[in-house]
């Protein structure tokens, strides 16, 4: 058990080392979220009606949910590369914990997501975001919720990476599947503004539940059942996708 933790840390450190060395990845975790915030606040923001709130206050919880959900894409990329380049074989031939490869990936994603959060809050505050009617406890609960959701998505990306024939495919599958889902939700606009059909879809979309839960914790919107439902969604995703990723890993590795 202690060796699993030690091996996970060794591999997480390895995963993190590549980020500053690859400008496209560094951009994905820093400049891309900044760009999204500025684009929505200043380009679309004026045309979007969010009754009772400045758009930046409405937007930030949603855009944080969206950015963190994608934080795990580097896991899809990295795992797909490791399989292709034979590194998985090297790891499996070493007297190390076999769980550490996936654990190291998902753990390093959490740290990367923390980096994204710092960047997002910095640009959010600069663009005029404020916490409204909230307590330190609620702010922290919101952060925990967002990071847990990011962790759940890391397992989805792990599965995508292990199913992809190349890192490029892993990347495009991830974005094609998840990107539209974030738009058909209350991430950027209130679901109530959407036409029938799409509105019902958006209301059932977990991205709506997560965004609305974080809003209720950070800007004082009515909580309804969103907060605990959000945790249920996270748990459900982890319970479904972590075992699938582990099973797929075993299958891919033992070829």
């Amino acid at each position: 058990m202690s060796s699993t933790v030690a091996d996970t840390i060794v591999l997480a450190r390895r995963n993190l080392k590549r980020i500053p060395r690859q400008p496209d990845l560094l951009i994905a975790y820093t400049i891309q979220p900044v760009m999204f915030v500025l684009l929505f606040v200043y380009v679309f923001g004026g045309a979007i009606n969010t009754p009772g709130f400045d758009y930046v206050d409405f937007l930030m919880p949603g855009i944080i949910v969206q950015s963190i959900a994608f934080g795990g894409f580097v896991t899809a990329l990295g795992l797909s590369e490791d399989v292709k380049k034979g590194l998985i074989d090297r790891f499996r031939s070493l007297p190390m914990s076999r769980a550490a490869v996936l654990a190291g990936r998902t753990f390093s994603d959490i740290l990367l997501n923390c980096l994204s959060l710092v960047v997002l809050f910095a640009v959010g505050f600069a663009a005029g975001f404020n916490f409204i009617d909230t307590t330190a406890g609620q702010v922290i609960l919101g952060l925990v919720l967002v990071l847990l959701m990011g962790y759940a998505f890391s397992w989805i990306f792990a599965l995508v990476g292990l199913f992809s024939s190349s890192p490029e495919t892993a990347n495009s599958i991830g974005f094609t599947l998840i990107f539209p889902l974030t738009f058909a939700s209350s991430v950027f606009v209130p679901a109530s503004s959407m036409p029938d059909g799409l509105r019902q879809f958006a209301e059932a979309n977990p991205f709506t539940t997560w965004s609305d839960a974080v809003r209720s914790l950070w800007i004082g919107t009515p909580p309804h059942s969103d907060v605990w439902m959000s945790f249920v969604w996270c748990a459900a995703f982890i319970v479904i996708f972590a075992p699938l990723a582990v099973a797929r890993y075993r299958k891919v590795a033992a070829k």
Binding site: R14, R18, K85, L87, D89, R90, S93, M96, A254, K255
Partner: protein
């Protein structure tokens, strides 16, 4: 038998309907280099994957360093090193970081892992590149780093899966020298290769496999003897001298020499001195020599003799590797 570092008995492995290994037996005593020779798809890599615990066999048994590859897999991993044709290094890490990481995954203390990384970079002539990401390395440098990673923990048994496939001749030669200096340190090595010259040069004993079966086993010389040992070939200046040449050379061989046009073929047992001896005898008989050579059968001849086909390489894989070389 139980003292052997590698013992494989009746190993069977299938992928769906394809039988990769159909009951393979071989063994390697401690400190020896065993060459597993065969064309692509012969089952070499499957055997290595089973012996390094990456793959479970369907039948038969295998013990490495006294440990069963299935039952004692976890303990066995601390006693083996694996390097292969895919050069499994992390391209985003530097040479030093790659070796440090592998050391830490062997649960060496960090300071020791770092010292060992420095030592190996020195031995493998990678000191200048130690701080550069491995993606900037040439194909030959990557293979050296990969081999260094396999040696971090000084494993008693080393598996090299086609260590020079796709390398240019100069890198191949330097890789051979590296492997030779490693094997002098007393590790047992199992080397797979489709290059006959490579098995000839590096291996003490050679197991030839084809379509998942062992088709021959022995030292390089034993295998060559199976296709008839060495031949002295003399090309005569004048065809008319043929009979006199055969007569003059009959004394230096057991089997009678044969005559093919202006070429006399003489089966010989011992290479040393045979050319000088033949030249003297032919001179004495007044036979003019155009050319004279001792031909050793290559392992290619052995393979052809055993299987009826050459140990050719898969042209597709070759092209891919070469492209990779250019890109690297």
């Amino acid at each position: 038998m139980t003292d052997d570092a590698i013992v494989v008995e009746g190993l069977v492995k299938s992928y769906g309907n394809v039988r990769a290994l159909c009951g393979v037996d071989f063994a390697a005593p401690p400190g020896s280099v065993l060459g597993l020779l065969g064309p692509n798809g012969a089952g070499k890599t499957t055997a290595v994957r089973i012996l390094t615990t990456l793959l479970a066999p369907d039948g038969g048994s295998a013990r490495v360093a006294g440990l069963d590859v299935v039952e004692d897999a976890a303990a066995l991993r601390a006693k083996i090193g694996l390097a292969g044709q895919y050069a499994a290094v992390d391209e985003n890490l530097t040479g030093f970081e790659n070796l440090e990481m592998v050391g830490e995954l062997y649960h060496m203390p960090r300071a020791e892992a770092r010292a060992r990384a420095d030592e190996l970079l020195e031995q493998f002539d990678l000191v200048d590149a130690a701080k550069r990401p491995a993606k900037t390395y040439s194909g030959g440098m990557r293979r050296r780093l990969d081999l260094a990673a396999a040696l971090v923990y000084r494993p008693p048994v080393l598996f090299l899966d086609e260590p020079t496939t796709g390398l240019d001749p100069r890198s191949r030669l330097s890789m051979w020298e590296t492997i030779e200096s490693r094997t002098e340190e007393g590790s047992t090595v199992l080397l797979t290769t489709q290059y006959l010259e490579e098995a000839d040069r590096l291996a003490d004993r050679i197991v030839v496999i084809d379509h998942g079966n062992v088709i021959a086993e022995g030292t390089s010389d034993e295998l060559k003897d199976r296709v008839g040992g060495e031949r002295l070939e003399v090309v005569l200046e004048d065809v008319a001298d043929g009979d006199r040449a055969v007569e003059a050379l009959a004394a230096i061989c057991q089997d009678p020499p044969s005559l093919e046009g202006q070429r006399v073929i003489v089966p010989v047992r011992h290479r040393s001195g045979v050319i000088a001896d033949a030249v003297l005898r032919l001179n004495g008989a007044g036979v003019g020599i155009d050319d004279i050579v001792v031909h050793r059968p290559t392992l290619d001849d052995v393979f052809l003799h055993l299987t009826g086909h050459r140990a050719e390489e898969d042209p597709e894989e070759q092209t891919e590797e070469q492209t990779e070389e250019v890109a690297a």
